[in-house]
């Protein structure tokens, strides 16, 4: 999936839009996602999805898969949000109650509402992140962070981690493939032993790559810091600017109206 996201971030219809503008837009929408009414959060989710799927032409399948995977974590927290043990407090009727248990287990309307609100907020915030992830290549994000005066050491670490991520996935893929081609082993214990051996091999591989990369850095004259390319500003087409500003204005006005209405 990481590779797929990376490929899409380099090959989408919004790729050439200014990375700083995209980052600012995503940040603003993220802030709004935190503050506005749940109905508006749902609107933000749909709107940011439309930016990715319709404007940037990110395949719906890829977007949906990532969105679904992220929501799995929300799904795992659902029982903790919804399920209550004991007797409902006075005036708080259980929506659903499991009968015949010594300790009553029930779900309340307040719990359902809380879970719903959380889902709306998570979806809205996630869609803002996905917009940035799918439309802006990592190298451009680094340039934006550099312009925002992120410490050099953090940028270098992020860069090296990014390079290593792909090297490691390649190594892991190679090891898995070799295991499959050799037929693998049967039985739970054998598989467990083999997985441990694979993890060991992957660690060895990582250390080898780390050693190689440090030699490479030295050979290329690295002394104290990796100097990243400077940020190059790109204009934002009026079409996108108008859409974005109009959308933000509508959201803010809608939120104000909801406040005024109480």
């Amino acid at each position: 999936m990481i590779r797929r996201i990376d490929v899409l971030s380099y090959n989408n219809a919004l790729r050439l839009l200014s990375p700083m503008w995209k980052s600012a837009f995503a940040a603003l929408m993220f802030l709004l996602s935190y503050t506005v009414h749940p109905f508006l959060q749902i609107a933000i989710t749909l709107w940011m999805m439309s930016w990715c799927i319709l404007q940037a032409r990110i395949p719906f399948r890829a977007y949906g898969l990532l969105f679904g995977t992220a929501l799995l974590f929300y799904g795992l927290s659902i029982p903790a949000l919804l399920v209550e043990f004991g007797h409902p407090a006075a005036g708080q009727a259980g929506v659903f109650q499991l009968p015949g248990l010594p300790l009553p287990v029930y779900i309340t309307a307040a719990g359902l509402q809380r879970a719903g609100e959380l889902l709306a907020r998570i979806s809205a915030c996630m869609s803002c992140f996905f917009f940035l992830m799918f439309t802006t290549p990592f190298s451009e994000l680094l340039q934006v962070l550099r312009r925002l005066r992120m410490p050099q050491i953090v940028l270098e670490l992020m860069l090296i981690m990014y390079r290593f991520l792909f090297l490691l996935t390649d190594a892991a893929h190679g090891l898995l493939l070799a295991r499959r081609l050799r037929g693998g082993r049967r039985g739970y214990k054998a598989k467990l032993r083999e997985t441990a051996a694979m993890a060991g091999a992957l660690f060895g591989n990582t250390m080898h790559r780390y050693y190689g990369l440090s030699q490479g850095l030295l050979a290329r004259g690295f002394t104290e810091e990796i100097i990243l390319p400077p940020y190059s500003a790109r204009p934002v087409p009026r079409r996108y600017a108008v859409q974005a500003y109009a959308g933000v204005a509508v959201l803010v006005l809608a939120q104000l109206w909801l406040w005024v209405r109480g």
């Binding site: 290549p137 990592f138 190298s139 860069l159 990369l213 850095l217 990243l228």
Partner: protein
């Protein structure tokens, strides 16, 4: 042969901390300035260790390494200057590709040397066009093929315009087209007066490409000289696990009455041209 040397090793001894066996054993050799040198030797003969010494990553435990006639200094500032003069292209390109896209990576060393942005852009464009990488400039490194990665690694070193370029098996695992593109790039670097040194197992390539050959075995220099000198004897090569290039093998298999005791031709065209008058055949026959 009276010549100027770009790189010389004088009695260099080295062993890695985790082994007792010497990786370089009183290694003494010289690489002529402006030459196309091929370093031959089986796996573990010390080719990569030699290169790491040449850029000052490894330091000899005894003996000395000389670049441009001067002994290497291992002071930080001197090493930085050395690595601008001597470029190393690793066998595994992943080892030296650092930034996210070819364009960014090629400019890495230039930016580090303090060059201004317009000059960096110009130099990168020139090198990338030469190595047929211009269209890949903004593609993520991990999406490139091995051949493209190898050319990107070479471009990064070429952009620095070093006096000496060392390449550790640059054509290994490459398809014929990628190999051709790589060799084209090397020819262009050499034409600018750069000394190019290539470690390889490919005898045919070394014979065809190089004008100076060094044969390493167990960290020692077994032979150095022109390709004609090195590939004149089958026995010496076979004794250290190497073989004659195909053309030379074929040439020396012919009766001496036919070859006239001449050294073997280095290209198929030369082979054909030399054999033609000897056999007194019609052009179409061969």
């Amino acid at each position: 042969m009276d010549m100027e040397y770009s790189l010389a090793f004088d009695g260099v001894m080295f062993h890695y901390p985790d082994t007792k066996e010497l990786a370089l054993h009183e290694l003494t050799l010289s690489i002529p300035k402006g030459s196309k040198t091929a370093v031959l030797g089986h796996n573990g003969s010390g080719k990569s260790t030699l290169f790491l010494h040449a850029v000052g990553i490894l330091r000899p435990q005894s003996g000395k390494v000389l670049q441009g006639g001067k002994e290497l200094s291992y002071a930080k500032k001197e090493l930085a200057a050395l690595r601008r003069r001597v470029g190393l292209v690793f066998q595994d390109p992943e080892q030296q590709l650092i930034l996210s896209t070819p364009l960014e990576d090629v400019s890495f060393g230039l930016r580090g040397s303090g060059m201004d942005e317009p000059a960096i852009a110009g130099r990168c464009r020139e090198v990338m066009e030469l190595l047929n990488l211009a269209e890949l400039g903004h593609k993520p490194i991990h999406q490139l093929s091995l051949g493209q990665k190898k050319r990107t690694a070479l471009a990064g070193v070429m952009a620095m315009e070093p006096e000496l370029i060392l390449l550790d098996e640059p054509t290994s695992y490459l398809d014929p087209l990628s190999e051709l593109q790589m060799l084209k790039g090397l020819e262009a670097i050499h034409a600018k007066g750069t000394t190019v040194v290539m470690a390889t197992h490919d005898m045919d390539l070394a014979y065809r490409w190089a004008d100076w050959i060094i044969v390493l075995d167990h960290g020692m220099c077994r032979a150095e000289g022109t390709p004609e000198e090195i590939f004149a004897g089958r026995e010496k090569l076979e004794a250290i696990g190497l073989r004659l290039p195909l053309l030379a093998d074929l040439w020396y298999s012919l009766p001496a009455s036919l070859t006239g005791g001449q050294s073997a031709p280095r290209t198929a065209g030369e082979f054909k041209a030399r054999l033609h008058p000897l056999l007194k055949l019609e052009h179409s026959y061969l």
